[in-house]
Structures are given as structure tokens and as C-alpha cells.
């Protein structure tokens, strides 16, 4: 099993600050070909035939989006590149922008030519200073070479790109919020329709595509749509970049064909689970996605297969969990993130997610009941159905998918008042096994409270009333005398 690098073709190969090296790797050749040998309709048809779908998470066919924007009436249109990568643990877009900024600029110009736009905006998060600097530098370089700006390569097509820095709101990755933010308003979503392709930035037709989507455009133009369509599965073509993180040996960025299984990703490319422990779940799609249990290790991954098991492709973050991860705690972590990042415009998301989070808190504190689990599911489904934008509509996914696949773990929390993975502090106790304790005093000296007493060379004792369950004694004990239950 090998990586196939399409979107990442130049990352780690060329010097991103030298346009000469990009040109040496067929840089701006796709733009040249499109401007000189293809009409906008030809180009859109080619992208449509390639089967490329939006890599930001939604999976909308890119060619179709461009076609709708092209057909929307009006002399002024915009191309927006969504580089507001906010999923925890995801860094695909950052890598592309830092390693191969010109590939995105070139593809934006091609999109501009196709939809009839002369202005592109890159909405990028301010937390990516290096990417911002390289983009600014690359735009200036490309303009100097006549590959961006007025009359590109001597043709009558002009295309200008400006940067717009996001102030760090997760919801601004949602396209209507992003547009509001570019316009200088609060980053809050609006009702769709009208879709941005009909009425977007400054009420003009706007095509919004993700960084990785753009990075796929030039190879399609140069190598042909048939080549691209030959990679991947029936409904998901090409490759997908994943950011592998969590309890995996080879943490990093990978690009694999659609339809690769989780097993191949984790055990062949990722080098297996850290410490040889057992795989428990993979979380895809960030706070909007779900957890995939071990039973789906051999499922070919594409947009539709992930959706069918209650997760989603998302932008490509993939967090691997082993037996030491508590699924209730994971669900709570993601929900805390979405509760924090909810813009507050619509009630289901603002209040519903908060209530959902409180219910999870009760479960992890041992005060939940079976009724709590039932209401968790009900409330989650209501939030999904009633929220205004993608953030709220997907926020309960981590909860619902873990409820579906790890119900026994939830049950252990509410019925037995026990956390099987030993993560939820309220449900675990640390005790000392007097048979194994040598009285070395390491635990007592490291305890931050302190609540461990005992004479040197005699068995120690933990005062359960004072213990804060930090687990320091468990980690420090060299004799395995501390028991975590």
C-alpha cells in the first residue's frame, strides 16, 4: 500500500518560495492550456467528468458548483478559497499552502476563467502565519511573472487574488458564515438557499472551494479527466489527504486513493497502534464526524460509505483511538469544542448542544441514568434536524455514533458507575496493593495533594477522601502496586 500524491504532488519536492521550481514541475501549464486551448465550458465539463468532489467535507461535485456559478447571471462574480481549517488535529490545508502555494493560486485562476470571475479571495486563518506569508509572497511572484494579475500570459483574462485573515472562529469554515466574515460582518451563517453559487459575496455569484479541492484541479487539466476518474471508487474519485493523529506510530499526512480501508491506513501506512495495543475506534471528520469501530476496519473509505455508518469524510482529520480511550469522554471532548464554537444564532445549536454536553457531564460523573442515554439520542436527533448550518447539523454526530457503536460503554457508566477505560475521574479509584508496595515513598513524594501516607519500607495508603485522581502515583510506581479501578 502506497501513498498516491496528487494534491500533495509538490509538497516536500519543490521550494515553495521559488516560482521557478513550481514552473519546472508543470506549474501554470494547466492555466496556460485552459486559457489557450479550452473554453470555460470545456474546462467545466472536464472537471465534471473527472468526478472531483469538494474536499472540505460536504463532497459536492466541484464541476457542478462551477457550472451553477457560471450560469448565475451578473457581470461580477467571485472565487473564494476556503482555507479556514478548524478541525482539531487536521492540517492538510496548511501543508498544501506552505508546501505548494502556487498550485492553489493557479487553480483559483482556472476557476475564475471558468465561472467568469476576475477576483479571488483566500479566506485563511490567522493562526497560520507561515502559510499567510508564503501566499503573499507567491501572489507577488506570480504577478511579477505575469501569471496572475492583468492580461495573464498575454491573453485578455485578468485575475487578482487577495487574502482575508480569519480571526479564529470554527463556524467561519461554513460557507455562508465565511462570506459574512469577508464582508466585515459577524461570522454567522445564513439560510440556504440562496446558495453562494447564486448569491454569495456582496450578493454576487460566488464559488467557494476548499484548498485541497483546488490542489487537485491542475493535474486533472494536464493529465485528463479519465486518468483522475480511474482512481478511487465508483462515486468518489481521486485521492484524499488524511492527517493521521492519535495513538498511532507514524503520525503524519498521507494521501491515499478513495476506497482504501482503515486497516490499510492504520497498519500499513500508519505503522500500527502505539505500544502494540488494540485498535478501538477511528474518529473522522473532526467535531462533525463520528467514531468508526473496529468492525468497519475493512470498509473501503469514501464519502458515501462513511456517511452510511454515521460518520463523514470531513476535511480529513483522522484520530486513532486505542483501548485506553473512553468513548464517552471523547464524545464529550468534541461536544465541548462545538459548544464553544457555536455562534449562537439558532436555538437548537446554542442551547441544545449545551444541554447535550451537560448530559454527557452527568454520565461521566456517575450521576447519569438509562433515561439520560435515551434523552441523549432524542435531543441529538432534534439538534441535527433543526439547526441552521452545518455546524449544528453535525455537532451531535460524535455522540450519536458512539452511542450506536459503544452503547455498552455508556451503560457501564450509568448502570455500574464504572469507566471501563479508566479515564473518567469520578468513576475510578486508586488504591495501593499492600503485597506489592515496597514502601519506596515515590508515590507519596509525587502526590500533589498530598494524600498518600505510610512509613518508609512499609505499605502505603491512599486517603480516598482527599484523592483528586490525577493518576500521578499510578504513573510513578515502578512496582505496579497502584491499582486503578
Amino acid at each position: 500500500m502506497k501513498n498516491i500524491r496528487i494534491a500533495l504532488r509538490n509538497c516536500g519536492v519543490i521550494d515553495p518560495e521559488k516560482i521557478e521550481e513550481y514552473i519546472a514541475h508543470e506549474g501554470y501549464m494547466a492555466l496556460g492550456k485552459v486559457l489557450n486551448e479550452m473554453t470555460p465550458d470545456d474546462t467545466i465539463n472536464s472537471i465534471k467528468k473527472s468526478g472531483l468532489r469538494g474536499r472540505g467535507g460536504g463532497g459536492f461535485p466541484t464541476g457542478l458548483k462551477w457550472e451553477i456559478t457560471r450560469k448565475s447571471p451578473g457581470p461580477v462574480k467571485y472565487v473564494i478559497c476556503n482555507a479556514d481549517e478548524g478541525d482539531p488535529g487536521a492540517f492538510m490545508d496548511r501543508s498544501i499552502l506552505e508546501g505548494d502555494p502556487h498550485s492553489v493560486l493557479e487553480a483559483m485562476a482556472i476557476a475564475g476563467y471558468c465561472i467568469g470571475s476576475n477576483h479571488g479571495v483566500i479566506y485563511i486563518r490567522a493562526e497560520y502565519p507561515l502559510a499567510v506569508n508564503r501566499l503573499k509572497y507567491s501572489i507577488a511572484q506570480a504577478e511579477k511573472f505575469g501569471l496572475l494579475g492583468d492580461n495573464i500570459m498575454g491573453t485578455d483574462f485578468s485575475f487578482h487574488i487577495t487574502l482575508n485573515l480569519g480571526a479564529g472562529a470554527f463556524v467561519c469554515g461554513e460557507e455562508t458564515s465565511l462570506i459574512a466574515s469577508v464582508e466585515g460582518n459577524r461570522g454567522e451563517p445564513n439560510v440556504k438557499p440562496p446558495f453562494p453559487a447564486e448569491r454569495g459575496l456582496w450578493d454576487k455569484p460566488t464559488s467557494i472551494n476548499n484548498v485541497e479541492t483546488f490542489a487537485n484541479i491542475c493535474p486533472i487539466i494536464l493529465k485528463g479527466d479519465e486518468w483522475f476518474a480511474s482512481i478511487g471508487t465508483e462515486k468518489s474519485k481521486g485521492t484524499k489527504v488524511f492527517a493521521l493523529a492519535g495513538k498511532i506510530n507514524n503520525v503524519g499526512l498521507i494521501e491515499v486513493p478513495m476506497g482504501t480501508t482503515l486497516r490499510e491506513i492504520i497498519y500499513e501506512i500508519g505503522g500500527g497502534i502505539q505500544g502494540g495495543r488494540a485498535f478501538k475506534a477511528a474518529q473522522t471528520g473532526g467535531p462533525s464526524g463520528g467514531c468508526i469501530p473496529a468492525q468497519f476496519l475493512d470498509l473501503p473509505i469514501d464519502y458515501d460509505s462513511l456517511a452510511s455508518i454515521g460518520s463523514m469524510m470531513g476535511s480529513g482529520g483522522m484520530i486513532i483511538m486505542d483501548e485506553d480511550n473512553c468513548m464517552v469522554d471523547i464524545a464529550k471532548f468534541y461536544l465541548e469544542f462545538t459548544v464553544d464554537e457555536s455562534c449562537g444564532k439558532c436555538t437548537p445549536c446554542r442551547i441544545g448542544n449545551k444541554r447535550l454536553y451537560e448530559k454527557l457531564g452527568r454520565i461521566t460523573h456517575g450521576t447519569g441514568t438509562l433515561q439520560t442515554l435515551k434523552s441523549l439520542k432524542e435531543l441529538g436527533e432534534i439538534i441535527k434536524d433543526c439547526s441552521l448550518c452545518g455546524l449544528g447539523q453535525t455537532a451531535p454526530n460524535p455522540v450519536l455514533s458512539t452511542l450506536k457503536y459503544f452503547y455498552d460503554e455508556y451503560e457501564a457508566h450509568v448502570v455500574d458507575k464504572r469507566c471501563p477505560s479508566g479515564v473518567c475521574a469520578s468513576l475510578i479509584t486508586f488504591t495501593i496493593n499492600p503485597e506489592k508496595c515496597t514502601g519506596c515513598t515515590v508515590c507519596a513524594r509525587n502526590c500533589p495533594v498530598p494524600c498518600i501516607s505510610g512509613e518508609r519500607k512499609e505499605a502505603h495508603l491512599i486517603d480516598q477522601n482527599k484523592c483528586i485522581k490525577c493518576g500521578v502515583c499510578f504513573e510513578k510506581c515502578r512496582f505496579g502496586a497502584i491499582v486503578k479501578q
Binding site: 515553495p16 514552473i23 519546472a24 501554470y28 496556460g32 506552505e98 508546501g99 507561515l130 505575469g146 499526512l253
Partner: protein, 141 residues
């Protein structure tokens, strides 16, 4: 007068601009020959250091400096240090790829200043790869 100044400025600004697709194709061929190391009597090397946020945070800047210092100290010609983007080997940052004019490529991981000077002394001068630090290796194409 002012107008003609502007026109002058315009001409200066547009002097280096690519004016046609054919011109771009020519540049592509030219830059390609400059990018790829051609086989020659004297072995040439490019040391590409991964300089994305991840690499820099792990110490790629120090590695670059160490490489340059060692090249200077040993009076090496035909060895250049370049920076590049992220290869995806987050677990092995900082990474240095040694591209040789014989077509082979060796990727070193978890490089620090000490390993950097070993790369120069052992691999570049001595011709023996540092087997303990290799992440990936491909022979001449």
C-alpha cells in the same frame, strides 16, 4: 512628462512578464534542467530540509544552519541546501532529503545539528548513508 514616466514604469514592470503560453513552455524546459541534477563526473547533492510549520517547530532552522556551516567548513562545492514543504512525516521531523546526481534519494528523519554534520561527513564526503537515521531510501532511477 508624468505620463511618459508612468509609461516607463509600466514597461519596467512588464519586462519580465510571461507573454504567451509558448514562452511559459520554454521556461518550463529551462527551469526543469536547472532543478534536476544532471549526471556529471563530480557528484552533486541537494539537501532539501522540510521547512513547514511542523519542521521549523521541530528545529529545521537549526538543522539548515548546521548543514551550511559544515559545508563551508569542509569546502564542499556542488552541495546546495534548499528548503521545501511538508512531506507528511510528522513523526520524524525535522527531515532532510539528500538528492544525489546519481538519481538516488535518501530521507533522514529526526535530524539535529549532530546528525546534520554526520550527514555531511559520512554520507556526502564518505559516501556511506547513516543507516540509523534513514526513513526512506530510493536508488537511482
Amino acid at each position: 512628462m508624468e505620463l511618459s514616466m508612468n509609461a516607463c514604469q509600466w514597461m519596467v514592470n512588464n519586462m519580465n512578464k510571461i507573454k504567451s503560453y509558448d514562452e511559459l513552455k520554454k521556461l518550463n524546459t529551462k527551469f526543469k534542467s536547472e532543478f534536476y541534477l544532471t549526471k556529471s563526473k563530480e557528484k552533486k547533492f541537494v539537501l532539501a530540509v522540510g521547512m513547514a510549520t511542523c519542521g521549523i517547530a521541530a528545529g529545521a532552522v537549526e538543522v539548515t544552519e548546521a548543514l551550511k556551516k559544515e559545508i563551508l567548513a569542509n569546502n564542499l562545492t556542488g552541495v546546495t541546501v534548499s528548503s521545501t514543504g511538508c512531506l507528511g512525516y510528522c513523526y520524524a521531523e525535522p527531515v532532510v532529503e539528500v538528492r544525489s546526481s546519481d538519481g538516488s534519494s535518501t530521507l533522514y528523519g529526526s535530524v539535529d545539528a549532530i546528525k546534520a554534520s554526520r550527514i555531511i561527513k559520512q554520507h556526502i564526503i564518505g559516501g556511506v548513508p547513516l543507516l540509523d537515521a534513514v526513513v526512506e531510501r530510493s536508488e537511482s532511477k
